[in-house]
Amino acid sequence: MITVIEKGRRIFSEPDARSVIEELITHIPAENELSIRLGSWWGAGQRWARNRASLTSDQRDITLIISRPLSHRKQYPLSILATTNQIDSASLKGIGNHINVYFDKWKEKVPPDRILDVPSDIGEGTKVWSDATFDRSILENAEVVEQLTRQSESDNLMSSGFIGSTGSSAMHFYRDEWGRTDWKWGLVTQAECSVTVRDRNGNGSGWMGKTSFDINRVNIPELAAQALERCKLSLNPVRIEPGRYQVILEPQATAVFTELLMGAMSRGTPERAGGGILFLGDDRSIQRYKSKLGLKIIDERLNIFHEPSDPFFGSHVESLRRRIDLIKNGILTGMFDDYGSQLNEIADMYPAFYSTSYRMSGGSTSIEDMISSAKRAVLVARITQPEIVDPGSMLYTGVTRDGLWLIENGAITKSVRNFRWTESPLFVMNNVEEVGIEEQVFEPNGSRNPMNYGFSNSLNNVVVPPLKINDFSFTSTIDAV
């Protein structure tokens, strides 16, 4: 029995995890359906501000979630659930007993509406792993931060930022009511770096960031140098009138709109989450919304897909064994299904899956070429805080941040004040002038819970191109720099 993660081992190995789960299983009656998720997580963080390291941290956590399903009714799945981060023998016995007590209380009272052969919600095993990320030394991080903050200090600018490395392992055990068992094992790393350089008087700000499973793909000195350069270029911005502009969205800005689009792609049932602009109405005969699958929804030059062999997604992605096209030549060809579909024929035609790792294929135009061909446009480095204002038209509002420049007659002429924007990702992606070369952007995993990324379905590896967009709507200026 494991009571302590051994010195030097920051996350569970596969035998570690299996032994914990095997012990827990002994406390649950063998004839019952059971789901156990066990994850371990390690995170190292290097934070800095005002040109000095402000905190270096080492965090480790465990998550154990045990669940005994009572019912698989499509609208109201019911489970007895308990969560802890303690895995000693007494805790395992206690949590197992708790689950049993509540299960026994309710099992006779739940309507017998089990659906045979319901797919389990278990994810496939995953290995998106980089030894370089997991073995990254904190001294190396400290030295990088020392160098980049020295540079900003010598330029009389203020640097702040974060370098993070995480590693996690997760095991999912599933046993159905006929005693068939399934074990899944996942290993994941993620590296992230983001840097903000600001003028001491608050008159300019530059930001750069990148995430990857492999820290060697995150060039920290280069990011810092770019953030510093952008800060200098953004100094003393001038106000220009809000209105419709041709914009060049850098990949980080493009990703905000692709993320919004991806968020609308959950199939859902009439009773549960789903619906929205990508749907045509509910069809109760198949318990699904009729969607716009097969219809053109964005510019035909745009493709969004998940390719298991994509080098940006890690070299051993096992979860999605085949390429999934979500949008092909502008046509909606795939949607997420977070709620096990019985409709295999539909699923075969339009494969459903759930993954937040995706690539939007790009073109061949560089941002420099986009700038030189623009008569009057705005270069947008970053967009943040998108918030819905009209679900019916998928209309959002948000702000620009950390770099906005006016382009006149093929050249950047001035830094401009930030705007609030009001746009729909569908409008944006139907008004594409040019498509640039795609690159991986900053999309950190949003949670420390290893369950959320111990399996590949929540890994945020996002690769998108810059886009030149016509008639982008800036609705008002904001004061923040």
């Binding site: 905190l55 080492d58 965090q59 956590d61 509540y102 983001s194 009001t422 800036f474």
Partner: protein, 532 residues
């Protein structure tokens, strides 16, 4: 679908447990066997071990926290209990901070993370000095527990579910109810703290939270509206937060308003400048974001620049005691010691006993929200205002797994010295707009704000005449607070528990905001769905 109590129960998230009430119930604390470690740890020894380990490794200062967070929900068959433990050590070495945390609560692990925190700090000593001064701490050891009347962890789960299922039943009797959703959670945190200065404290904090919302539909006119029980959010209270309050009355009031909405005509908003009444929920959000967040000392000094943002307080040394944030009637203070508020503690996460202090007095910025390190950054301000250099007790974190940072204190906006209610305020408007339950957003320096959603009403001669579709406010922080022409009186003050996020990695905590409604002149009102 015909609306019947049966159907309502079917569609209400917690209806089934109530309708299948068990004969014998178990409370969370009856589950001790499920979480045996909760009672088997020598907490003081673990904390002392961790601090000693850090000091032995060379730390000039160290603190250790041990937390046990427990929660259960009332939205399904079982309480879905959750218990997590964490031990976290923060160490200071030559001005640099290091932090280490773990879920494993053993002496061996306490030793390891104590030493590790110092190792983390040491790597940053690469030739350049970092000056870190901690404001003095008045040692005040002891134990404390949120004074709750009804400890939800000692009440049978089935009793709780039955109580809340009663609201579903009641909702089913209300006219035109189409959808009724409710959700509740009870949580408790055992927080033990010690530091190398000799502070040792132990406290148990409780929170009760919930959300109740519904839709109404009049099929004869094909109109829908919605309502929300605003009186329920998150508070530092026990089950009495629900049991001792007239929830059904709140629900009736919200339902009545929603029905009234159905009878009002819908109009498009004509963008322009208006006299606008903002309800308590809207003011609470505006206050927390425009003054609460903006005065967090780490934001002001750029420590959040790479994530949530900075502040319009760009030069605190000059702006403190001179910056006119609002009109003379705007007075804002912080108080983490008020019992029942979501941020209420006896000690913050640095062992500081928080007391009430002013943030904005007669419209002027007079303090920042400080922790021990941040207080030293504005040492001159403390001297100039004849205050002892001290932390205001803002250090907080969701658990010892995360390092403690400055989070917003519980905020209070002084009401007017009148008995004016929200309805009275509306009645005083001859021609204007009333905004209810809006979502409020700000830019990353808390200077430009805007609202979305909620309900907007055209007000003529003190009465709601129409619903204005897609109306939203657009404002700058100082203009909003300087343009306030009327503030509700003491009877109009309402409490809200709000969540806020900051840090990298991100942390989320809850704090309380208590405010009256306000009327603002010359507010820019826009059509949120109109593009440029």
């Amino acid at each position: 679908m015909t609306f019947t109590r049966r159907n309502l129960l079917k569609h209400s998230a917690i209806a089934l447990p109530g309708s299948m009430l068990l004969n014998k119930g178990m409370s969370f604390d009856d589950l001790k066997e499920a979480f045996p470690l909760a009672t088997g740890i020598d907490k003081a020894k673990l904390i002392a071990t961790a601090i000693d380990s850090a000091i032995r490794a060379g730390a000039s200062y160290a603190d250790a926290r041990l937390t046990r967070n427990e929660s259960f929900t009332i939205n399904s068959f079982s309480p879905n209990p959750k218990q997590t433990m964490a031990l976290g050590v923060r160490a200071l070495y030559q001005g640099y901070w290091g932090f280490a945390s773990s879920p494993l609560c053993s002496e061996e692990e306490a030793n390891r993370i104590g030493e590790s925190a110092v190792v983390q700090a040491k790597v940053n000593v690469l030739g350049r000095e970092r000056q870190t001064e901690l404001a003095p701490l008045e040692i005040s050891n002891g134990e404390w527990e949120t004074p709750v009347k009804d400890n939800p962890f000692n009440i049978a789960y089935e009793e709780l579910t039955d109580f809340f299922a009663g609201f579903s039943s009641y909702a089913s009797t209300l006219k035109f109810i189409k959808q009724f959703n409710q959700w509740y959670e009870f949580s408790r945190s055992y927080k033990d703290f010690g530091n190398s200065d000799g502070q040792n404290n132990s406290q148990i904090l409780y929170w009760s939270s919930g959300n109740v919302a519904f839709k109404v539909e009049d099929k004869s006119i094909k109109r829908e509206s919605w309502g929300k029980v605003e009186e329920i959010s998150i508070a530092g209270k026990g089950f009495e937060y629900f049991r001792d309050r007239p929830i059904r009355q709140y629900l009736r009031n919200a339902h009545e308003e929603a029905l009234n909405d159905l009878s009002l005509p819908m109009k498009p908003i004509d963008p322009g400048r208006y006299v606008v009444q903002i309800d308590q929920g809207g003011i609470a959000n505006v206050l927390q974001k425009s003054i609460g967040k903006a005065t967090e000392v780490d934001r002001v000094f750029g420590f959040e620049a790479n994530t949530g943002g900075t502040s319009y307080i760009t030069d605190p040394h000059t702006m403190l005691n001179t910056l006119k944030i609002g009109s003379n009637s705007v007075n804002v203070w912080c108080d983490r010691s008020e019992i029942g508020s979501a941020g209420c503690v006896r000690w913050d996460d640095e062992g500081v006993h928080p007391e009430r202090y002013d943030l904005v007095k007669d419209g002027i910025l007079v303090n920042l929200q400080t922790n021990r390190e941040g207080a030293s950054w504005v040492k001159d301000h403390y001297q100039n205002t004849q205050q002892d250099l001290r932390s205001f007790g803002t250090a907080n974190s969701p658990s010892a797994m995360d390092v403690q940072i400055t989070h917003p204190s519980d905020l209070y906006l002084m009401p007017s010295d009148t008995s004016i209610t929200r309805d009275n305020l509306r009645e005083s408007i001859d021609d204007g707009i009333e905004i209810r339950i809006p979502d409020i957003s700000f830019d990353f320096q808390q200077i430009t704000g805007w609202s979305r959603g909620g309900k907007s009403y055209e007000i003529k001669k003190g009465k709601r005449e129409a619903i204005l579709a897609n109306a939203g406010m657009l404002f700058r922080t100082p203009e909003l607070w300087n343009n306030i022409i009327s503030i509700g009186g003491t009877p109009s003050v309402e409490y809200f528990g709000l969540l806020s996020r900051k840090g990298q990695p991100e942390q989320t905590i809850a704090s309380g905001v208590k405010v009256p409604p306000c009327i603002v002149k010359e507010m820019t009102v826009i059509d949120n769905t109109r593009k440029a």
